[in-house]
């Protein structure tokens, strides 16, 4: 790849804490290499702010290889920026040109309150998992791993759903801040496997109830979530969740 450097203007959301209202601040950054990742560019800005005696921008990040799901920037109106199936940490600066202005915001959703600057509280996702996103099996009580054969197609589909990293981009992209893609990915992962079958009915009911309680909005099937999902989780999962949920209400055993 051809290497180049660029000067950019960043408009970044700054907010001291959950209670204080936030605002955009504008910062110039210079000599950004096209080989840097987006977060490395923010590192450059922060080093600059520290040297100027200012407060660096707080943002969540950890693995920087697209799998922990911690990074969460809303870049020029799109969660995780312009690339498809991508997280912010994997976005590289060759996506931008010299002179560009980039606007960076936190995830916006009532269920994800801002903690500081670009950092939000996603513990609602943990509580949804607590409501039923698991198979109830204690350590030590498992049968031999090959005792139950699983159709390869089902196993593959379960894996595709289980690839969700819980970043919350789906919620951030949705006009209703719905968490349906997240919830449906977990329900699908477990419903597609024979091991998850005994708890199918209570799982979808309890997880959806918790989702509503957390203040996530309703799903209107616009597909904005799927379009921005870094792991390409399909909205077919939402259809599957709806079927699972309906079955729960229809059967009386």
């Amino acid at each position: 790849m051809e290497h180049y450097t660029m000067n950019l203007t960043l408009k970044i959301w700054r907010q001291q804490n959950t209670q204080t209202p936030g605002r955009f601040e504008t910062y110039p950054v210079k000599n950004i290499s096209s080989e840097m990742s987006f977060l490395e560019m923010i590192d450059v800005l922060n080093e600059q702010l520290i040297k100027e005696g200012k407060d660096p921008v707080a943002f969540d990040h950890d693995c920087r290889e697209g799998i922990c799901g911690m990074c969460s920037m809303y870049i020029n109106g799109r969660p995780h920026g312009p690339w498809q199936k991508n997280t912010t940490c994997q976005l590289h600066m060759r996506a931008y040109q010299d002179g560009d202005t980039i606007t960076v915001e936190p995830w916006r959703a009532n269920a994800f309150p801002v903690i500081k600057d670009l950092m939000v509280d996603r513990s609602a996702f943990d509580r949804i998992i607590q409501a039923g996103g698991y198979i109830s099996v204690n350590t030590g009580s498992a049968v031999d791993a090959n005792a139950i054969a699983v159709e390869k197609d089902h196993a593959d589909a379960a894996f595709a759903a289980a690839a969700c990293i819980g970043c919350g981009a789906c919620v951030a992209a949705c006009k209703n801040s719905s968490a349906m893609l997240f919830v449906s990915a977990k329900v699908s992962h477990l419903a597609l496997l024979p091991q998850g079958s005994p708890e199918r009915k209570t799982r979808s009911m309890n997880m959806v109830a918790q989702m509503d309680k957390e203040g996530f909005g309703a799903c209107t099937n616009t597909g904005a979530c799927e379009a921005v999902c870094p792991k390409g989780i399909s909205i077919e999962n939402i259809a599957r969740l709806n079927r699972e949920y309906m079955m729960t209400g229809l059967s009386d055993d």
Binding site: S37, C63, S123, N138, T139, G140, A142, F159, A163
Partner: protein
């Protein structure tokens, strides 16, 4: 004298004997006992979940926003287990033997045998939890091979095995949270261990959102806080991965085992510039199907696809015909360094070698698919098209990751790779029960030193983390707590808690008061460069002595000129980072000291003074068949305790993969 408390009896009977004779805690008493678990990766989450299931009152802590983010999630290739589902000759004994040999005879036999025994239970447990491992068309589990072995015993989920295993453990943990058996504290960092009457009884931690210091009591404390690879600044670890919890334990009396045993992974995406904040691994599983080569001609500037077959040096296949591209990590890393140092490296920096998939894509996968579809005499394009589909299923996410970082398509162009710091075999010294030299303080997973010797084999880290958490600690912790059932929770206004909190507060105040000129990040980078250059892939007496002097000077400079912005009573990521870097600086010194003391080469620890004529690591079993367990005495002062290693079953020999 260090007592590893290894049970008597034949190697293969030790763990069974232990389980049959250890003390138990009855269910009613378990509910009165509180256990602190720090870190929620594979070891921590599996331990917290399993102990919660047993009825203990568990408090778990992690610095991330959710336990699901721990860096175990980034493990790619797989997890080993002696299932022998492939009928290719695997057994508990072979997994044990491969691990001891792979670790270059510097691991404890009893621990490693136990690890191999419980490996089969781990796979059963994970499948029951819904971990979607790769399967064959018959619906049964699939395996792949990894370095340092000649059987296929690695279970995997594409290139996301760690993610799937962690989600399994995380879900089990959240289930216990829902049931009220585990209380989860996210965005918390442990800053002190509280020791009362010689036993670990709690921790002090900082709430990373409010900045408050908190006191938490536990009848026992489990550190599951991962490795210290970030001492090198650039590593495949997550940005937040740190040694702080382990280091605080060390300073409270826990010995640090084999700190110089670090793993440099052979296949990572090379450094592209000074801005680099971390390195990205390309799974070892890629060496199943990728062939590693450099041009035969020095400084060859042609594009890789323009270099004809007979002008390529497949140096691993040439030097190690028996294992070829699947030699252990330490061997592969040194071989890459050797070629690059000799001037055969590729890419703009010359610090890279090629990992090429074309051969297997066409000849292995393409042909197999063509056969399945009944295509006679397929042309190369067809083979490439068919092969790509299979390679995509096996490694799709890794190829995508590579392309996002480098902008090059690895289906078409060979990957450029170079070794990078990945894992630390060293860690807190623990006995057979995973207890450190402080009573009631345990270390699990990568945080302890125990099972990998001087080099960890691929797909063994996940195995060890889960073995410790699911199947070892539930037994060994009971053996300790059985004597504590009468002890009521100690109030956190006990002087030991007050003192520990004060010490954490003083240190924070000291750091914030420096108000110097240089950023925390700049110190971390400088430390990393010293360690990488002088305590990295090759170490020498001269280099290590220089490194120790440089690190001591760096420490002085840090404590007089670091600049930390922001406030104490609130969120302050720079302050958190400063505390971690301060601990890395001290650890760095100990690593060099340990490397200096061990004048032999073994596994990932390569002393230039100790090599064979062919440049392989030369062990010295007479002098160094021991675990180096370091006791902290005072600033820059440690005392060395040796735990002798005896090999009754796997007799040490010169490791050969030729």
């Amino acid at each position: 004298m260090l007592d590893a408390k290894i049970p008597a009896g034949l190697l293969e009977q030790k763990w069974n004997y232990y389980k049959g004779h250890c003390k138990l805690v009855n269910p009613a008493n378990k509910r009165k006992l509180e256990v602190i678990v720090v870190g929620t990766g594979l070891a921590g989450a599996s331990a917290a979940a399993s102990l919660g299931e047993l009825g203990y009152k568990v408090k778990a802590f992690c610095f991330q926003d959710s336990p699901r983010r721990a860096h175990s999630i980034a493990a790619q290739g797989g997890i080993n287990a002696a299932k022998n589902y492939q009928n290719d000759g695997d057994s508990v004994f072979r997994l044990f033997y491969d691990t001891i040999k792979g670790g270059d005879y510097r691991a404890r036999e009893a621990n490693v045998h136990r690890l191999a025994e419980v490996s089969v239970n781990i796979i059963d447990q994970c499948v029951a939890q819904g971990v979607p491992f790769a399967r064959d068309y018959g619906g049964l589990l699939n395996n792949r091979s990894f370095g340092g072995t000649q059987v296929k015993r690695t279970f995997y989920a594409a290139g996301q095995t760690g993610q799937q295993l962690l989600i399994g453990a995380y879900q089990a943990l959240e289930r216990q949270v829902a049931l009220g058996n585990v209380t989860m504290h996210s965005r918390h960092e442990m800053l002190e261990v509280v020791v009362i009457d010689g036993k670990a009884r709690g921790i002090i931690c900082r709430n990373l959102v409010t900045g408050e210091l908190e006191r938490h009591f536990g009848h026992a404390v489990l550190l599951c806080t991962g490795g210290y690879g970030n001492v090198f600044y650039l590593s495949t670890n997550a940005m937040g991965s740190n040694v702080t919890a382990a280091w605080k334990a060390h300073k409270k009396g826990a010995f640090f085992g084999n700190p110089c045993f670090t793993q440099i992974h052979p296949t990572c995406i090379p450094v592209s510039g000074d801005h680099q904040s971390k390195l990205t691994l390309m799974s070892e599983s890629l060496r199943n199907d990728g062939r590693i080569w450099v041009p035969k001609q020095k400084g060859d500037k042609r594009k890789p696809n323009d270099i004809p077959e007979d002008e390529r040096d497949y140096y691993l296949e040439r030097r190690y015909p028996a294992f070829g591209n699947l030699v252990p990590r330490d061997v592969a890393s040194r071989a890459a360094k050797e070629r690059c140092d000799a001037g055969y490296g590729v890419g703009t920096t010359g610090q890279a070698v090629y990992l090429d998939f074309k051969y297997n894509l066409i000849n292995k996968y393409g042909r197999a698919e063509a056969n399945k579809l009944g295509i006679q005499n397929p042309d190369t394009d067809t083979l490439i098209r068919l092969g790509k589909e299979v390679v995509k299923e096996e490694y799709g996410n890794l190829f995508d990751m590579y392309e996002k970082i480098t902008g090059e398509n690895p289906y078409e162009v060979p990957m450029r790779i170079y070794p990078a710091v990945h894992y630390t075999m060293g860690g807190l010294w623990v006995d057979y029960e995973l207890m450190t030299s402080v009573k009631g303080l345990y270390a699990l997973g990568e945080a302890n030193f125990s099972d990998h010797g001087a080099n960890r084999l691929g797909a063994s880290a996940l195995m060890q983390g889960l073995a410790d958490g699911y199947f070892v600690i539930p037994y060994t912790l009971g053996n300790y707590l059985a004597d504590d059932i009468a002890l009521k929770a100690i109030a956190t206004d006990h002087p030991a808690f007050v003192e520990a909190e004060q010490s954490a507060a003083d240190r924070i105040a000291k750091l914030m008061g420096i108000q110097g000129k240089q950023t925390v990040e700049s110190f971390h980078k400088r430390l990393g460069k010293i360690i990488w250059d002088k305590c990295g892939m090759a170490r020498s007496e001269k280099g290590l002595k220089e490194a120790i002097a440089e690190i001591q000077a760096l420490k002085k400079e840090f404590w007089s000129d670091v600049r930390i912005p922001g406030i104490v009573n609130g969120m302050n990521p720079e302050l958190d980072k400063a505390g971690r870097v301060a601990d890395f600086i001290e650890l760095g010194e100990l690593m060099c000291l340990d490397a200096l003391d061990r004048t032999e080469s073994c596994g990932g620890h390569f002393r230039e003074e100790s090599q064979t004529d062919e440049g392989e690591a030369l062990r010295n079993d007479e002098q160094f068949s021991y675990v180096a367990a370091w006791e902290h005495k005072a600033e820059h002062q440690w005392a060395l305790h040796k735990e002798p290693l005896t090999f009754e079953v796997a007799k040490p020999s010169q490791r050969s993969y030729k």
